[in-house]
Symmetry: C2
Subunit: 200 residues, 2 copies
């Protein structure tokens, strides 16, 4: 094994690929696909999304100060890809993709996407200009999960959501569970029980 | 399908799970596992990593102004989990995990991890205090890829790296390719050819 030095690039992988929905007083609801997104704080819960200034949704995010991050399962993958290559300048992406708007109680304009497994309703706290992209830091003020993803104890079972990851231009399904946080130091009986639960 | 409203949490999924290596004039090299990481800019290429102030590596990052993001394949998963639950205060994690330090030309202190598929050498441009976590914005100034991950044309084939994703407490392998950026509008022959290549 030996490293070859290459020109630096944005090669953090895998990253989430999500549909960000937005709207403003002046603009109808739109969807923008974002892979340059991340969790940035646990308490308060916050996410970051990055958007090029020339993207149609940029001014909607700036005007409204809010957005919704919609997680994407395999069933929404084609729509997500489409929303990443088409512009809201030219068409209504909700209509084009057959997606449904859902009112989010905590926000004024931006709807969630009814078909997605989980949404994070965000209020923008800060915008940083970094270069090609502006970084929007959003505080998560509301969250909705499809009821069918909750188990008998009310816990979220995200395995059922069949989420998609994005890695160097390719959308990939999530495969078998390989471990859980802390598994490397778990007692053997805990390890066995939890791994069975995860891959049942 | 109907959403149930839940208390907001950091539920963006899947996210990358990476080993961040760091060192300073005063501190030996350490590894901290980070799932709250993301790409934040393409030009210049930049990543964000978030670290709690009470974590041992926090002061190393502050002192040195640099860090290395090491992508993690299935072969490094156990070590990554271990580095996420143990502290560099108590032990030398490189030694404990049998990992090897590799000098990174662009940085002064922080080594890369020789066993990982790809590293991003970063210089910290800005630190934002958000709450539980501080956000480190790093400019990627160097990048190394295992030679065996380069194809005949010198392109990075990350499918070979068997990267791991992190989703709500669970490490998951990446499964089959479901599509590629733009696949929803690709010509039928392009779609067929590329999907075959991706899942060969």
């Amino acid at each position: 094994m030996a490293f070859k030095s290459l020109t630096p690039g944005a090669m953090l992988c895998p990253v989430p690929a999500v549909m960000v929905s937005c709207a403003s007083e002046k603009d109808r609801p739109n969807i923008i696909t974002i892979a340059w997104a991340g969790t940035v704080c646990s308490q308060p819960p916050m996410v970051s999304v990055t958007v090029r200034k020339e993207r149609f949704s940029h001014h909607i995010l700036m005007d409204s100060g809010e957005f919704v991050v919609n997680l994407v399962g395999e069933g929404q993958l084609r729509a997500m890809d489409y929303c990443g290559v088409k512009s809201g300048r030219d068409e209504d992406k909700f209509a084009a993709c057959g997606l449904t708007q859902t009112k989010v109680a905590e926000l004024q304009y931006a709807p969630a996407i009814a078909e997605c497994p989980l949404y994070l309703a965000c209020k923008t706290e800060q915008v940083l200009e970094l270069g090609s992209h502006d970084l929007f830091l959003g505080r998560i003020v509301g969250m909705g999960v499809q009821e069918e993803l909750l188990d008998a104890n009310g816990r979220i079972d995200l395995q059922k959501a069949k989420l998609v990851a994005y890695s160097h231009g390719v959308y990939q399904s999530l495969g078998p569970a390989l471990g859980f946080f802390g598994y490397s130091v778990a007692a053997p009986e805990v390890l066995e029980r939890r791994m069975k639960e995860l891959n049942k």
